[in-house]
């Protein structure tokens, strides 16, 4: 597989970041997941974190070397995450179950498969045209479907944050599954939370990502979205993938998985450190951890080099 991938999560103007994002890939399969947690105190962060970790762990267990049934994997994992959040709340007798949205995508054998719960979105663009997307499980989306409001009213609507399906909570989630969708080189996949899509309309996203290399456009999009979010901007997260070799840039930015060993995975979980959360347990670093930290920093330097 060859692709160019970017991910970032930002706090926006909020005190804490309740979004979590991750991707992981082996030689022949790629998973991307975005979760936007909800609930008081640490609840939202915990929910999103549990969801994303569960996806990554199950993926690495089941992709041997590829998933037998990606859509079933997506559905099962969503249900397990839902159950895990319930038992977590029970275990710590939390008043409010931690809840989260989730959108996840699996690409293997040249096909994309996606699933979602809530209002975190997936877009699939081909030559700047939207050819696949999720439909929010939200009150405003319902109003749009009923023709009561227009699509462009969604971002500003007072009820825009009301979703009727999520992981965690009392009712079982509604999980939407996509079709098995063939990909072509140059297709662009986008996963994002409402902090991003509510300020960057889909046609603008399409324009950014088809006119510039992903590693240039995506960070610029995040900056712009955060700016537009202004002083009460929400957390915003984005994963972008350009399928196939990157042709828009002359610097090497394409991830090539053919050289990976069978059973090997590369994983990036965005560690969205909360500003106030700096009290982690003190522990000695092992040599191995030092090496890993250094190589991570070096790859970040490479990635953000102009």
């Amino acid at each position: 597989m060859r692709f160019t991938i970017f991910q970032e999560s930002r706090k926006g103007s909020r005190r804490i970041n309740q979004d979590r994002i991750a991707y992981t890939y082996g030689r022949d399969t790629l998973l991307m997941v975005v979760a936007d947690g909800m609930g008081g105190h640490a609840g939202g962060e915990i929910a999103a974190q549990i969801c994303v970790r569960l996806f990554v762990e199950r993926f690495q267990q089941e992709a041997k070397p590829i998933l037998r049934n990606p859509l079933k994997f997506l559905q099962d994992t969503m249900l397990r995450a839902h159950a895990a959040l319930g038992s977590y709340a029970n275990q710590f007798s939390m008043l409010e179950t931690p809840r989260t949205t989730c959108v996840a995508v699996v690409v293997q054998a040249g096909f994309a498969h996606w699933a979602h719960v809530g209002d975190s979105r997936f877009y699939l663009f081909r030559q700047g045209t939207l050819i696949g997307s999720t439909k929010d499980h939200s009150k405003v989306q319902y109003l749009v479907d009923q023709g009561i409001i227009g699509a462009h009213d969604v971002a500003q609507h007072p009820d825009r944050n009301k979703i009727f399906s999520c992981l965690g909570g009392l009712v079982d989630p509604v999980i939407d599954l996509s079709k098995r969708t063939p990909l072509r080189n140059g297709d662009v996949m986008v996963l994002c939370t409402d902090g991003l899509w509510s300020v960057l309309p889909q046609h603008e996203i399409a324009h950014w990502l088809t006119s510039q290399p992903v590693l240039k456009a995506a960070p610029a999009m995040m900056r712009e979205a955060e700016k537009r979010g202004g002083p009460d901007g929400d957390n915003l997260s984005l994963i972008c993938v350009r399928w196939g070799p990157e042709t828009l840039t002359d610097e090497p930015s394409t991830t090539i998985t053919e050289t990976m060993g069978l059973g090997e995975f590369e994983t990036q979980i965005d560690r969205t450190i909360t500003l106030t959360d700096r009290k982690g347990q003190q522990r000695d670093l092992t040599d191995d951890e030092i090496e890993r930290a250094i190589s991570e920093i070096q790859s970040t330097i490479q990635k953000y080099r102009k």
């Binding site: 003190q282 670093l285 030092i290 250094i294 970040t300």
Partner: protein, 312 residues
Amino acid sequence: MPVTNQALPGGYQLLNYRIDRQISRGGFSIVYRAFDDTGSPVAIKEYLPSSLVLRTEGDVVRASSAENLTSFRYGMKCFFEEGRALAKINHPNVVRVLNFFRANETVYMVMRYERGRTLQQQIQMRQDQMSERFVRHVFMHLLNGLREVHTHKLLHLDIKPANIYLRTDGSPVLLDFGAARQTLTNTRPKLAPMYTPGFAAPEQYRDPDRLGPWTDVYGVGASMFACLAAFAPQAADARVQEDHLVSAKKIWAGQYSDNLLEVVDWCLRLDPLERPQSVFALQKAIRDIPPKKRKLSILGNIKRVLFSEIRA
């Protein structure tokens, strides 16, 4: 006799960098000027917390005790955090990290070398008042950089004129990411940061759970104050006991715009909630320069005259 750490000697070959000379030495690190293999200058920061490790000769760093090794390694984690965060920030007003590596049993951060001097030196060298234009210029640009820092989930926590570098073309660069050090404070007193009195916000002394963008905003306010006064404002811990700080608006009335002075006072509020809550809010306040009210200036003058008469 206090033992000090030896700096790497000039000419020392560190990976593909040749050390030229030591630029500065702080509690946590030594900064060198060096040249890379193309001969371009770079600045290299060597992690070397002076209370924990020793290098009395040679190049290899050794912890001064087994217990210190743990703290040394732990502090290294914080140096990594700094590197990790800075690596993501590619902004003209934030020092750029070029490389990061391990050698001599410690770690090194290579930065783009900047020519110029610190704002601290600039303040000390100047004979006359700094112009409003200059202050605005430096801080507007600096705030762009700081904003980028905050959006990457990092607090600086040590904003002061000594950590603001002015390039020869006048543009500012934010140096020295103290944020990582914050992690050190809670458990290991040995690595406790040296808060810079006058520039650290009150919550940095008392209430580490309340750190936020407003904490850096305090440092910005204090630095602006220092530009006008050529000295630091009263230290925040003392202010909490008994606040002697006279508002900028009183001290420099008429010499700088009300807007600028109000912004300085706003940033220096003791209650974190009363300060601008984000760099964005602060920039907005600075940018909203009230139009020069020519028509109203007579009124302003009257007020000023009245005020000085009352004081007299």
